[in-house]
């Protein structure tokens, strides 16, 4: 099982969210949109205590809250809109991908996606490391970006493209897996069309690219009320991924190197 416990950044987010009795709409929407009630894998992970950010289910709620509300949709700067990332991460069928469900699964790595399953619904498995207290991946901003990343694997499958990562090539850090980075300028993607792509000239996204762009947007384009611990976390996770998880390292950094 996972190592339960409440990290500081999860604490900062969970304190913002009204409890289920005060805001049943959100909790029921989150469970439905992310299919947290699709199978029994979440039962022993805090489904009966969705307000508890010590447990995986409550930590998922924190990350879904960030996906749904944290971005300011600053059209001048932001890579993509909140709706783009939310539709990517959400399990329901959309322009981005077919339907899938999210399963809690005690395994290594942050998550994986199973696509093209025979006579079964596709799914994303969310693993313990994104919930393990004091682990390197246990952070609501990072967890939200993982949901975007895994949703993009379903996009790849829906559009008919390979979804395997690269290992040990190009600028990838030793031992790290990653993707190609498909260059695009901020203005080249309008809001709410992240699902679209073009092959000539190439305009495309890989999972780590979408994930890093979400990190950048959360770090720098969050709403004013978002806790500073969240935006800082998005920045350092994003910069690590930009530096280590691309075959051709993207030519930008997230944020300024100052304390606050």
């Amino acid at each position: 099982m996972c190592r339960d416990g409440l990290g500081l950044v999860d604490l900062a987010v969970s304190q913002l969210i009204p409890v289920p009795s005060m805001w049943p709409d959100f909790f029921s929407w989150a469970a439905a949109a992310f299919t947290l009630d699709n199978d029994d894998s979440w039962d022993a992970s805090g489904e009966d205590a969705p307000w508890s950010a010590r447990l995986p289910y409550g930590k998922m709620i924190n990350s879904i809250y960030l996906l749904a509300y944290a971005l300011s949709d600053n059209y001048d700067v932001q890579w993509h809109s909140a709706a783009d990332y939310l539709s990517t991460a959400r399990a329901a069928e959309s322009s981005y991908h077919g339907p899938f469900y999210l399963r809690f699964f005690d395994s290594g790595g942050e998550a994986d996606s199973e696509v093209g399953r025979v006579l079964a619904r596709d799914r994303t498995n969310i693993h313990c490391p994104v919930f393990d207290y004091a682990g390197v991946s246990d952070d609501p901003a990072n967890r939200a970006s993982v949901l975007v990343h895994e949703g993009w694997h379903h996009w790849q499958y829906a559009k008919g493209y390979e979804h395997q990562h690269l290992v040990g090539e190009g600028d990838l850090a030793p031992g790290a897996e990653g993707d190609y980075y498909y260059f695009h300028r901020v203005y080249e993607y309008d809001f709410n069309v992240l699902w679209a792509y073009r092959l000539s000239p190439l305009l495309f996204h890989s999972p780590y690219q979408v994930q890093s762009e979400f990190d950048a947007d959360l770090a720098e384009c969050a709403n004013r009320w978002v806790p500073v611990a969240v935006t800082q976390a998005a920045r350092y996770y994003g910069n690590v991924r930009l530096n280590t998880q691309f075959w051709n390292r993207p030519g930008y950094r997230i944020g300024q190197p100052r304390p606050f």
């Binding site: 990290g7 700067v77 393990d132 008919g160 030519g251």
Partner: protein, 250 residues
């Protein structure tokens, strides 16, 4: 729990306001025991109040005593909760006590194995895809805070990080912090490129994506530094026609 009718649109946003705006200024921690509470309050401050955070730190008295409390927290091994430790580093940087330079420098050169908490299941867990590579992340933030406090007075030690640190994440963070400390001057860029590893050079002096950047300027800088190695055309997989969703229209 399916009371809400639509999976497509989340309900209108709500939040608990009293948490969103803790009363500033916070009381600075006077002991290690008070540090956790201070960081918890600091963590919840909205990003829109960052200017107030800076004013708060600038107004702290007994700064050496506060810095000593911060340094005690920074000496913890392993670091424990990563989010808390990273926020502590930000606090150390914002307080900008010169005596914090030495412990930050030591932290930069500390191995990941000493800093990170072990996976509770160790190698028993099946290795799977989509793994986060944390190596050098804490040291990178330490390098940024080192450069911030040093403000150009420790260039040799910072350039040594750029040249010799085993983590690319830390090397590139140190290079960016060096440039930031020197206002991104051309001469500073030449100095840092002179010591940087060849494989790192293309990622040094790149534009920063910030909330204040102008889109046209950022895009132009992005274009100018574009990696010459273009990725291959995405590889198609065989799919039944009925399952393919056409998205090629951009």
């Amino acid at each position: 729990m399916r009371a809400y009718g639509s999976e497509q649109t989340p309900p209108p946003m709500r939040r608990i306001d009293w948490v969103a705006s803790p009363t500033l200024p916070l009381q600075p921690p006077r002991s290690r025991r008070e540090l956790d509470g201070f960081l918890q309050a600091l963590a919840t401050i909205p990003v829109g109040d960052v200017p107030a955070i800076r004013v708060m730190f600038a107004g702290f008295e007994a700064r050496d005593a506060i810095a000593e409390v911060f340094r005690e927290g920074m000496a913890q091994r392993p670091c424990g909760d990563l989010g808390q430790f990273m926020l502590l580093l930000s606090a150390v940087g914002e307080l900008a006590c010169p005596r914090s330079i030495a412990p930050l420098h030591e932290l930069i050169w500390t191995a990941d194995e000493a800093l990170l908490v072990d996976d509770p299941c160790g190698s028993d867990r099946e290795t799977s895809c989509c793994v986060f590579p944390p190596r050098g992340m804490i040291q990178a933030r330490a390098a940024e805070m080192f450069a911030w406090i040093a403000a150009g007075r420790e260039d040799d030690r910072l350039l040594r990080v750029v040249a010799e640190h085993p983590s690319v994440v830390t090397r590139l963070a140190a290079a960016d912090a060096f440039l930031f400390a020197h206002k991104d001057a051309g001469a500073a860029r030449e100095r840092v490129l002179a010591v940087a590893r060849p494989g790192d050079a293309s990622a040094i002096g790149v534009p920063r994506f910030t909330r204040d950047c102008r889109r046209a300027e950022f895009d132009a800088a992005l274009e100018a530094g574009r990696c010459p190695d273009h990725p291959p055309r995405p590889q198609e997989i065989a799919l039944p026609a009925r399952t393919r969703r056409d998205g090629e229209c951009c």
